[in-house]
Protein backbone atom coordinates (compact mmCIF):
# COMPACT_ATOMS: atom_id res chain seq x y z
CA UNK A 1 0.00 0.00 0.00
CA UNK A 2 2.71 2.47 1.00
CA UNK A 3 4.76 1.52 -2.00
CA UNK A 4 2.37 0.06 -4.55
CA UNK A 5 0.13 3.10 -4.87
CA UNK A 6 2.95 5.56 -5.61
CA UNK A 7 4.42 3.17 -8.20
CA UNK A 8 1.04 2.79 -9.84
CA UNK A 9 0.63 6.57 -9.87
CA UNK A 10 4.00 7.04 -11.53
CA UNK A 11 3.08 4.54 -14.22
CA UNK A 12 -0.36 6.03 -14.88
CA UNK A 13 0.83 9.61 -15.12
CA UNK A 14 3.81 8.65 -17.25
CA UNK A 15 1.69 6.74 -19.74
CA UNK A 16 -0.85 9.52 -19.78
CA UNK A 17 1.75 12.05 -20.84
CA UNK A 18 3.08 9.80 -23.55
CA UNK A 19 -0.41 9.41 -25.01
CA UNK A 20 -1.09 13.07 -24.57
CA UNK A 21 1.72 13.87 -26.98
CA UNK A 22 -0.05 12.10 -29.82
CA UNK A 23 -3.49 13.59 -29.18
CA UNK A 24 -3.73 17.15 -30.36
CA UNK A 25 -7.35 17.52 -29.31
CA UNK A 26 -8.27 20.34 -26.98
CA UNK A 27 -9.32 18.14 -24.09
CA UNK A 28 -5.89 16.51 -23.98
CA UNK A 29 -4.20 19.90 -24.16
CA UNK A 30 -6.38 21.16 -21.35
CA UNK A 31 -5.25 18.34 -19.07
CA UNK A 32 -1.62 18.83 -20.05
CA UNK A 33 -1.68 22.54 -19.20
CA UNK A 34 -3.32 21.84 -15.87
CA UNK A 35 -0.67 19.32 -14.95
CA UNK A 36 2.02 21.88 -15.65
CA UNK A 37 0.29 24.58 -13.60
CA UNK A 38 -0.14 22.21 -10.68
CA UNK A 39 3.55 21.50 -10.46
CA UNK A 40 4.23 25.14 -9.64
CA UNK A 41 1.59 25.21 -6.94
CA UNK A 42 2.97 22.06 -5.31
CA UNK A 43 6.44 23.58 -5.60
CA UNK A 44 5.38 26.38 -3.26
CA UNK A 45 4.39 23.91 -0.56
CA UNK A 46 7.72 22.17 -1.03
CA UNK A 47 9.46 25.51 -0.65
CA UNK A 48 7.81 25.85 2.74
CA UNK A 49 9.44 22.52 3.64
CA UNK A 50 12.75 23.87 2.38
CA UNK A 51 12.54 27.09 4.38
CA UNK A 52 11.63 25.01 7.43
CA UNK A 53 14.75 22.91 6.89
CA UNK A 54 16.91 26.02 6.52
CA UNK A 55 15.53 27.55 9.71
CA UNK A 56 15.93 24.32 11.65
CA UNK A 57 19.53 23.73 10.56
CA UNK A 58 20.49 27.36 11.26
CA UNK A 59 18.74 27.40 14.62
CA UNK A 60 20.43 24.14 15.57
CA UNK A 61 23.78 25.72 14.90
CA UNK A 62 22.96 28.62 17.16
CA UNK A 63 21.46 26.48 19.90
CA UNK A 64 24.37 24.06 20.11
CA UNK A 65 26.94 26.82 19.57
CA UNK A 66 28.41 24.93 16.61
CA UNK A 67 31.42 26.48 14.82
CA UNK A 68 30.51 29.69 13.02
CA UNK A 69 27.15 29.86 14.80
CA UNK A 70 26.95 33.68 14.81
CA UNK A 71 26.76 33.59 11.03
CA UNK A 72 23.67 31.40 11.23
CA UNK A 73 22.06 34.34 13.02
CA UNK A 74 22.83 36.51 9.99
CA UNK A 75 21.11 34.00 7.73
CA UNK A 76 18.06 33.96 9.99
CA UNK A 77 18.09 37.74 10.27
CA UNK A 78 18.24 38.21 6.51
CA UNK A 79 15.56 35.59 5.99
CA UNK A 80 13.07 37.08 8.42
CA UNK A 81 13.77 40.67 7.39
CA UNK A 82 13.13 39.79 3.76
CA UNK A 83 9.98 37.82 4.63
CA UNK A 84 8.62 40.72 6.70
CA UNK A 85 9.27 43.17 3.86
CA UNK A 86 7.94 40.80 1.26
CA UNK A 87 4.72 40.13 3.18
CA UNK A 88 4.22 43.75 4.10
CA UNK A 89 0.82 43.82 2.51
CA UNK A 90 -1.61 45.24 5.00
CA UNK A 91 0.56 47.24 7.31
CA UNK A 92 2.39 49.53 4.89
CA UNK A 93 5.48 50.01 7.02
CA UNK A 94 7.03 51.56 4.00
CA UNK A 95 5.89 53.09 0.77
CA UNK A 96 4.44 50.24 -1.21
CA UNK A 97 2.93 46.81 -0.75
CA UNK A 98 3.99 43.21 -1.23
CA UNK A 99 6.75 42.75 -3.76
CA UNK A 100 6.73 46.48 -4.42
CA UNK A 101 7.86 47.25 -0.90
CA UNK A 102 10.78 49.68 -1.04
CA UNK A 103 13.02 47.70 1.29
CA UNK A 104 12.23 44.45 -0.49
CA UNK A 105 13.30 46.00 -3.78
CA UNK A 106 16.34 47.66 -2.24
CA UNK A 107 17.50 44.37 -0.70
CA UNK A 108 17.08 42.77 -4.07
CA UNK A 109 18.87 45.52 -6.02
CA UNK A 110 21.69 46.27 -3.59
CA UNK A 111 22.30 42.99 -1.82
CA UNK A 112 21.10 40.08 -3.94
CA UNK A 113 22.12 41.40 -7.34
CA UNK A 114 25.63 42.62 -6.43
CA UNK A 115 26.52 39.42 -4.56
CA UNK A 116 25.07 37.30 -7.31
CA UNK A 117 26.95 39.01 -10.11
CA UNK A 118 30.15 39.04 -8.08
CA UNK A 119 29.87 35.31 -7.41
CA UNK A 120 29.34 34.86 -11.14
CA UNK A 121 32.36 37.01 -11.97
CA UNK A 122 34.59 34.86 -9.72
CA UNK A 123 34.47 32.55 -12.72
CA UNK A 124 36.96 34.78 -14.52
CA UNK A 125 39.49 33.93 -11.81
CA UNK A 126 38.58 30.29 -11.50
CA UNK A 127 38.74 29.73 -15.24
CA UNK A 128 42.30 31.09 -15.11
CA UNK A 129 43.39 28.96 -12.17
CA UNK A 130 41.75 25.86 -13.61
CA UNK A 131 43.57 26.44 -16.89
CA UNK A 132 46.88 26.82 -15.09
CA UNK A 133 46.37 23.77 -12.94
CA UNK A 134 44.90 21.35 -15.44
CA UNK A 135 46.19 22.26 -18.87
CA UNK A 136 49.38 20.22 -18.67
CA UNK A 137 50.65 18.03 -21.48
CA UNK A 138 50.39 14.92 -19.27
CA UNK A 139 48.93 12.58 -21.84
CA UNK A 140 47.70 12.62 -25.39
CA UNK A 141 44.16 13.49 -24.29
CA UNK A 142 45.34 16.28 -22.00
CA UNK A 143 47.50 17.66 -24.80
CA UNK A 144 44.60 17.73 -27.23
CA UNK A 145 42.52 19.55 -24.64
CA UNK A 146 45.34 22.02 -24.05
CA UNK A 147 46.08 22.70 -27.72
CA UNK A 148 42.55 23.30 -28.80
CA UNK A 149 41.96 25.63 -25.84
CA UNK A 150 45.14 27.54 -26.73
CA UNK A 151 44.14 27.95 -30.36
CA UNK A 152 40.75 29.28 -29.38
CA UNK A 153 42.22 31.67 -26.82
CA UNK A 154 44.74 33.00 -29.33
CA UNK A 155 42.14 33.52 -32.06
CA UNK A 156 41.94 37.28 -31.70
CA UNK A 157 45.36 37.99 -30.27
CA UNK A 158 46.75 41.01 -32.15
CA UNK A 159 50.41 40.34 -31.42
CA UNK A 160 50.74 37.26 -33.60
CA UNK A 161 51.12 38.97 -36.97
CA UNK A 162 50.21 36.89 -40.00
CA UNK A 163 50.16 33.81 -37.79
CA UNK A 164 47.04 35.19 -36.13
CA UNK A 165 45.11 34.84 -39.35
CA UNK A 166 45.66 31.08 -39.38
CA UNK A 167 44.79 30.91 -35.70
CA UNK A 168 41.50 32.60 -36.38
CA UNK A 169 40.64 30.31 -39.28
CA UNK A 170 41.58 27.18 -37.35
CA UNK A 171 39.63 28.40 -34.34
CA UNK A 172 36.46 28.99 -36.29
CA UNK A 173 36.83 25.59 -37.97
CA UNK A 174 37.27 23.94 -34.57
CA UNK A 175 34.19 25.66 -33.24
CA UNK A 176 32.08 24.80 -36.25
CA UNK A 177 33.14 21.31 -37.24
CA UNK A 178 34.54 18.94 -34.59
CA UNK A 179 32.50 20.81 -32.01
CA UNK A 180 29.31 20.01 -33.88
CA UNK A 181 30.25 16.35 -34.24
CA UNK A 182 31.13 15.83 -30.58
CA UNK A 183 28.11 17.73 -29.35
CA UNK A 184 25.83 15.66 -31.51
CA UNK A 185 27.33 12.43 -30.19
CA UNK A 186 26.88 13.62 -26.61
CA UNK A 187 23.35 14.84 -27.25
CA UNK A 188 22.30 11.50 -28.72
CA UNK A 189 23.82 9.64 -25.80
CA UNK A 190 22.26 11.94 -23.22
CA UNK A 191 18.92 11.78 -24.99
CA UNK A 192 18.93 7.99 -24.93
CA UNK A 193 20.03 7.96 -21.32
CA UNK A 194 17.14 10.21 -20.41
CA UNK A 195 14.63 8.19 -22.39
CA UNK A 196 15.83 4.95 -20.83
CA UNK A 197 15.84 6.40 -17.32
CA UNK A 198 12.33 7.81 -17.79
CA UNK A 199 11.18 4.41 -18.95
CA UNK A 200 12.82 2.72 -15.98
CA UNK A 201 11.13 5.18 -13.64
CA UNK A 202 7.74 4.56 -15.21
CA UNK A 203 8.14 0.81 -15.07
CA UNK A 204 9.20 1.06 -11.44
CA UNK A 205 12.67 -0.36 -12.08
CA UNK A 206 14.40 2.77 -10.89
CA UNK A 207 12.70 3.61 -7.60
CA UNK A 208 15.37 4.73 -5.24
CA UNK A 209 13.58 8.05 -4.89
CA UNK A 210 10.47 6.51 -3.35
CA UNK A 211 12.23 5.14 -0.33
CA UNK A 212 11.39 1.85 1.33
CA UNK A 213 9.06 0.24 3.92
Amino acid sequence: MKRQIPLALVFIFGIFHIFQYFVPHESSEWLYEFFLKWIYIIGIFALALGIWSLIRVSWDKVKHRRPNWPYALITLGGLFAMIIFGFDYFRHFFTAEGLQNYMFRAFFDYILIPIQSTMFSLLAFFIASAAYRAFRARSLLATLLLLSALIIMLRFNPYLGFFGDYMEKTASWLLNVPNLAAKRAIIIGVGLGMVATSLKVMLGIERQYLGKD
Binding site: A124, I127, A128, S129, Y132, F135
Partner: protein, 292 residues
Protein backbone atom coordinates in the same frame (compact mmCIF):
# COMPACT_ATOMS: atom_id res chain seq x y z
CA UNK B 1 62.35 22.95 -4.48
CA UNK B 2 63.90 24.18 -7.70
CA UNK B 3 62.47 26.77 -10.05
CA UNK B 4 60.67 24.24 -12.25
CA UNK B 5 58.87 22.66 -9.34
CA UNK B 6 57.88 26.09 -8.22
CA UNK B 7 56.59 26.95 -11.69
CA UNK B 8 54.49 23.84 -11.61
CA UNK B 9 52.89 24.36 -8.25
CA UNK B 10 52.37 28.07 -7.89
CA UNK B 11 49.82 29.08 -5.30
CA UNK B 12 46.73 29.89 -7.33
CA UNK B 13 46.48 33.22 -5.56
CA UNK B 14 49.33 34.46 -7.76
CA UNK B 15 47.17 33.63 -10.75
CA UNK B 16 44.26 35.54 -9.21
CA UNK B 17 46.43 38.50 -8.30
CA UNK B 18 48.06 38.87 -11.69
CA UNK B 19 44.73 38.51 -13.48
CA UNK B 20 43.09 41.07 -11.20
CA UNK B 21 45.96 43.55 -11.61
CA UNK B 22 46.02 43.16 -15.38
CA UNK B 23 42.25 43.54 -15.66
CA UNK B 24 42.16 46.63 -13.45
CA UNK B 25 45.13 48.25 -15.20
CA UNK B 26 43.82 47.62 -18.69
CA UNK B 27 40.40 48.75 -17.55
CA UNK B 28 41.57 52.03 -16.07
CA UNK B 29 44.44 52.86 -18.45
CA UNK B 30 43.14 53.61 -21.93
CA UNK B 31 46.20 52.68 -24.00
CA UNK B 32 45.46 51.25 -27.40
CA UNK B 33 46.35 47.81 -28.62
CA UNK B 34 47.07 46.76 -32.16
CA UNK B 35 44.00 45.28 -33.77
CA UNK B 36 44.33 43.15 -36.85
CA UNK B 37 41.79 44.38 -39.32
CA UNK B 38 40.15 41.99 -41.73
CA UNK B 39 38.90 42.55 -45.27
CA UNK B 40 35.26 42.21 -44.26
CA UNK B 41 35.45 45.21 -41.94
CA UNK B 42 37.87 47.22 -44.09
CA UNK B 43 35.39 46.97 -46.94
CA UNK B 44 32.70 48.66 -44.87
CA UNK B 45 35.05 51.36 -43.66
CA UNK B 46 36.45 52.09 -47.13
CA UNK B 47 33.00 52.20 -48.64
CA UNK B 48 31.78 54.80 -46.16
CA UNK B 49 35.07 56.66 -46.17
CA UNK B 50 34.99 57.23 -49.92
CA UNK B 51 31.44 58.55 -50.02
CA UNK B 52 31.02 62.24 -50.85
CA UNK B 53 29.67 64.89 -48.54
CA UNK B 54 25.88 64.88 -48.61
CA UNK B 55 25.54 61.23 -49.63
CA UNK B 56 22.88 59.19 -47.86
CA UNK B 57 23.35 55.95 -45.96
CA UNK B 58 20.79 53.82 -44.19
CA UNK B 59 21.64 52.44 -40.75
CA UNK B 60 19.35 49.75 -39.35
CA UNK B 61 19.58 49.48 -35.54
CA UNK B 62 17.76 46.14 -35.54
CA UNK B 63 18.66 44.79 -32.11
CA UNK B 64 17.22 45.16 -28.64
CA UNK B 65 18.92 46.08 -25.35
CA UNK B 66 19.89 42.41 -24.77
CA UNK B 67 22.55 42.59 -27.47
CA UNK B 68 23.53 46.16 -26.64
CA UNK B 69 26.97 45.35 -25.22
CA UNK B 70 28.15 43.71 -28.41
CA UNK B 71 26.37 45.77 -31.05
CA UNK B 72 26.18 49.31 -29.71
CA UNK B 73 29.89 49.95 -30.37
CA UNK B 74 29.31 49.25 -34.09
CA UNK B 75 26.42 51.70 -34.29
CA UNK B 76 28.43 54.37 -32.52
CA UNK B 77 31.53 53.87 -34.65
CA UNK B 78 29.75 53.86 -38.00
CA UNK B 79 27.36 56.71 -37.22
CA UNK B 80 30.10 58.93 -35.89
CA UNK B 81 32.31 58.18 -38.87
CA UNK B 82 29.47 59.03 -41.23
CA UNK B 83 28.59 62.26 -39.43
CA UNK B 84 32.22 63.36 -39.47
CA UNK B 85 32.28 62.75 -43.22
CA UNK B 86 29.13 64.93 -43.44
CA UNK B 87 27.03 62.10 -44.75
CA UNK B 88 23.32 62.03 -44.08
CA UNK B 89 21.96 59.05 -42.18
CA UNK B 90 18.54 57.46 -42.21
CA UNK B 91 18.11 55.46 -39.00
CA UNK B 92 15.36 52.91 -38.48
CA UNK B 93 14.82 49.99 -36.16
CA UNK B 94 13.03 46.74 -36.94
CA UNK B 95 13.30 45.43 -33.42
CA UNK B 96 10.35 45.89 -31.11
CA UNK B 97 12.37 46.99 -28.10
CA UNK B 98 14.76 49.02 -30.21
CA UNK B 99 13.30 52.54 -30.61
CA UNK B 100 14.01 53.97 -27.15
CA UNK B 101 17.52 52.56 -27.14
CA UNK B 102 18.19 53.74 -30.69
CA UNK B 103 16.92 57.23 -29.91
CA UNK B 104 19.25 57.44 -26.92
CA UNK B 105 22.18 56.18 -29.00
CA UNK B 106 21.56 58.80 -31.69
CA UNK B 107 21.53 61.55 -29.07
CA UNK B 108 24.83 60.28 -27.64
CA UNK B 109 26.43 60.21 -31.06
CA UNK B 110 25.28 63.71 -32.04
CA UNK B 111 26.64 64.97 -28.71
CA UNK B 112 30.08 63.54 -29.36
CA UNK B 113 30.21 64.96 -32.89
CA UNK B 114 29.93 68.45 -31.31
CA UNK B 115 33.56 68.14 -30.15
CA UNK B 116 36.60 68.94 -32.28
CA UNK B 117 38.57 65.82 -33.13
CA UNK B 118 41.40 64.63 -35.30
CA UNK B 119 41.00 61.24 -36.92
CA UNK B 120 43.68 59.55 -39.02
CA UNK B 121 45.53 62.85 -39.18
CA UNK B 122 42.58 64.83 -40.51
CA UNK B 123 41.08 67.56 -38.34
CA UNK B 124 37.33 67.52 -38.06
CA UNK B 125 35.85 70.59 -36.39
CA UNK B 126 32.91 69.88 -34.11
CA UNK B 127 29.52 70.58 -35.61
CA UNK B 128 25.97 70.46 -34.47
CA UNK B 129 24.02 67.61 -35.96
CA UNK B 130 20.46 68.64 -36.72
CA UNK B 131 17.56 66.22 -36.78
CA UNK B 132 15.89 66.41 -40.15
CA UNK B 133 18.90 67.97 -41.86
CA UNK B 134 21.74 65.57 -41.04
CA UNK B 135 19.73 62.57 -40.02
CA UNK B 136 16.26 61.22 -39.73
CA UNK B 137 15.10 58.50 -37.33
CA UNK B 138 12.17 56.60 -38.78
CA UNK B 139 11.36 54.58 -35.65
CA UNK B 140 9.89 51.07 -35.52
CA UNK B 141 7.27 49.21 -37.57
CA UNK B 142 6.32 45.53 -37.21
CA UNK B 143 6.54 42.86 -39.97
CA UNK B 144 10.15 43.56 -40.88
CA UNK B 145 10.01 41.74 -44.23
CA UNK B 146 7.13 43.92 -45.37
CA UNK B 147 8.86 47.06 -44.10
CA UNK B 148 12.04 46.23 -46.00
CA UNK B 149 10.05 45.57 -49.16
CA UNK B 150 7.91 48.66 -48.67
CA UNK B 151 10.93 50.92 -48.31
CA UNK B 152 12.10 49.62 -51.66
CA UNK B 153 9.09 51.38 -53.17
CA UNK B 154 9.03 54.42 -50.96
CA UNK B 155 10.13 55.15 -47.41
CA UNK B 156 6.78 56.85 -46.87
CA UNK B 157 4.84 53.60 -47.21
CA UNK B 158 5.98 51.95 -43.99
CA UNK B 159 7.01 55.22 -42.35
CA UNK B 160 4.62 58.09 -43.22
CA UNK B 161 6.15 60.01 -40.31
CA UNK B 162 9.43 59.75 -38.45
CA UNK B 163 9.83 58.53 -34.85
CA UNK B 164 8.95 61.97 -33.48
CA UNK B 165 5.77 62.23 -35.57
CA UNK B 166 6.98 64.64 -38.26
CA UNK B 167 5.65 63.72 -41.74
CA UNK B 168 8.57 62.63 -43.95
CA UNK B 169 7.44 65.07 -46.66
CA UNK B 170 8.10 68.00 -44.36
CA UNK B 171 11.60 66.83 -43.38
CA UNK B 172 14.19 68.82 -45.38
CA UNK B 173 16.66 65.98 -45.98
CA UNK B 174 13.97 63.60 -47.20
CA UNK B 175 13.09 65.84 -50.14
CA UNK B 176 13.61 63.81 -53.27
CA UNK B 177 14.55 60.71 -51.28
CA UNK B 178 12.10 58.03 -52.36
CA UNK B 179 13.64 54.62 -51.83
CA UNK B 180 16.90 52.67 -51.81
CA UNK B 181 17.80 54.12 -55.22
CA UNK B 182 18.80 57.38 -53.55
CA UNK B 183 20.78 55.64 -50.80
CA UNK B 184 24.43 54.71 -51.21
CA UNK B 185 24.37 51.70 -48.92
CA UNK B 186 22.50 49.95 -46.14
CA UNK B 187 24.27 48.85 -42.97
CA UNK B 188 22.17 46.54 -40.84
CA UNK B 189 23.25 45.84 -37.27
CA UNK B 190 21.31 42.99 -35.73
CA UNK B 191 21.31 40.01 -33.42
CA UNK B 192 18.50 38.14 -35.15
CA UNK B 193 16.98 36.92 -38.38
CA UNK B 194 16.33 40.44 -39.66
CA UNK B 195 19.68 39.98 -41.39
CA UNK B 196 18.21 37.21 -43.56
CA UNK B 197 15.31 39.45 -44.52
CA UNK B 198 17.69 42.25 -45.49
CA UNK B 199 19.61 39.86 -47.68
CA UNK B 200 16.70 38.17 -49.41
CA UNK B 201 13.99 40.85 -49.52
CA UNK B 202 16.20 43.92 -49.53
CA UNK B 203 19.44 43.23 -51.32
CA UNK B 204 18.00 40.37 -53.34
CA UNK B 205 15.22 42.45 -54.78
CA UNK B 206 16.51 46.03 -54.87
CA UNK B 207 20.17 45.26 -55.31
CA UNK B 208 21.71 47.91 -53.06
CA UNK B 209 25.09 47.48 -51.34
CA UNK B 210 24.44 45.81 -47.98
CA UNK B 211 26.76 45.37 -45.00
CA UNK B 212 25.99 43.52 -41.78
CA UNK B 213 26.99 43.97 -38.15
CA UNK B 214 26.28 40.80 -36.18
CA UNK B 215 26.93 39.25 -32.79
CA UNK B 216 30.09 37.17 -32.45
CA UNK B 217 28.18 33.91 -32.41
CA UNK B 218 26.20 34.68 -35.57
CA UNK B 219 29.18 35.92 -37.57
CA UNK B 220 30.43 32.60 -38.93
CA UNK B 221 27.02 31.71 -40.40
CA UNK B 222 27.03 34.70 -42.72
CA UNK B 223 30.42 34.29 -44.41
CA UNK B 224 28.87 32.46 -47.36
CA UNK B 225 26.99 35.66 -48.25
CA UNK B 226 30.31 37.48 -48.51
CA UNK B 227 31.54 34.86 -50.95
CA UNK B 228 28.45 35.19 -53.05
CA UNK B 229 28.80 39.01 -52.93
CA UNK B 230 25.34 39.50 -51.45
CA UNK B 231 26.91 41.55 -48.68
CA UNK B 232 29.99 43.67 -49.16
CA UNK B 233 31.11 43.72 -45.56
CA UNK B 234 30.62 41.97 -42.23
CA UNK B 235 31.41 42.89 -38.64
CA UNK B 236 31.21 40.16 -36.00
CA UNK B 237 30.88 40.95 -32.31
CA UNK B 238 33.14 43.11 -30.19
CA UNK B 239 36.08 42.15 -32.39
CA UNK B 240 34.45 43.52 -35.54
CA UNK B 241 33.45 46.70 -33.76
CA UNK B 242 36.97 47.17 -32.45
CA UNK B 243 38.31 46.86 -35.98
CA UNK B 244 35.99 49.57 -37.18
CA UNK B 245 36.96 51.79 -34.26
CA UNK B 246 40.58 51.25 -35.17
CA UNK B 247 40.08 51.98 -38.86
CA UNK B 248 38.22 55.18 -38.08
CA UNK B 249 40.86 56.06 -35.46
CA UNK B 250 38.14 56.50 -32.87
CA UNK B 251 38.80 54.20 -29.90
CA UNK B 252 35.59 53.43 -28.07
CA UNK B 253 33.94 50.76 -25.93
CA UNK B 254 34.88 47.92 -28.28
CA UNK B 255 38.58 48.77 -28.17
CA UNK B 256 38.33 49.09 -24.38
CA UNK B 257 36.66 45.72 -24.15
CA UNK B 258 39.15 44.08 -26.48
CA UNK B 259 42.08 45.55 -24.59
CA UNK B 260 40.92 43.89 -21.39
CA UNK B 261 40.05 40.65 -23.20
CA UNK B 262 43.37 40.41 -25.01
CA UNK B 263 45.42 40.95 -21.88
CA UNK B 264 43.28 38.70 -19.71
CA UNK B 265 43.73 35.96 -22.30
CA UNK B 266 47.46 36.59 -22.39
CA UNK B 267 47.66 36.22 -18.60
CA UNK B 268 45.87 32.88 -18.76
CA UNK B 269 48.03 31.65 -21.63
CA UNK B 270 51.12 32.82 -19.76
CA UNK B 271 50.21 30.69 -16.76
CA UNK B 272 49.42 27.69 -18.94
CA UNK B 273 52.87 27.99 -20.51
CA UNK B 274 54.60 28.40 -17.13
CA UNK B 275 52.81 25.35 -15.81
CA UNK B 276 53.81 23.29 -18.82
CA UNK B 277 57.44 24.36 -18.77
CA UNK B 278 57.61 23.37 -15.13
CA UNK B 279 55.82 20.12 -15.82
CA UNK B 280 57.94 19.09 -18.79
CA UNK B 281 61.20 20.05 -17.12
CA UNK B 282 60.46 18.17 -13.92
CA UNK B 283 59.28 15.13 -15.89
CA UNK B 284 62.53 15.08 -17.81
CA UNK B 285 64.44 15.23 -14.57
CA UNK B 286 62.33 12.49 -13.02
CA UNK B 287 62.82 10.28 -16.04
CA UNK B 288 66.55 10.92 -15.90
CA UNK B 289 66.62 9.81 -12.27
CA UNK B 290 64.70 6.65 -13.06
CA UNK B 291 67.23 5.70 -15.68
CA UNK B 292 70.06 6.09 -13.18
Amino acid sequence: MNIFDRMMSLDRRWVFLLLAVVCVVTYVWPFSIPIRTTDEVENIFDFIDTLKEGDYIFLGIDYDPNALAELHPMTYAIAEHAFRKKLKIIFATLSQNGPGMADQAIRDITDSVKLDRTYNGVFYPGRTIVNGVDYVFLGYKPYFALVILGMGQNFRIPFPTDYYGTPLDSIPMMKGILNYDQIKCVVDITAGNVADAWISYGQGRYNFPLALGLTGVMGADYYPFLNSRQIFGLMGGLLGAAQYEKLSDNPGPAMDGMRIQVYAHIVIIFFIIIGNIGFLASRKKRMGKEVK
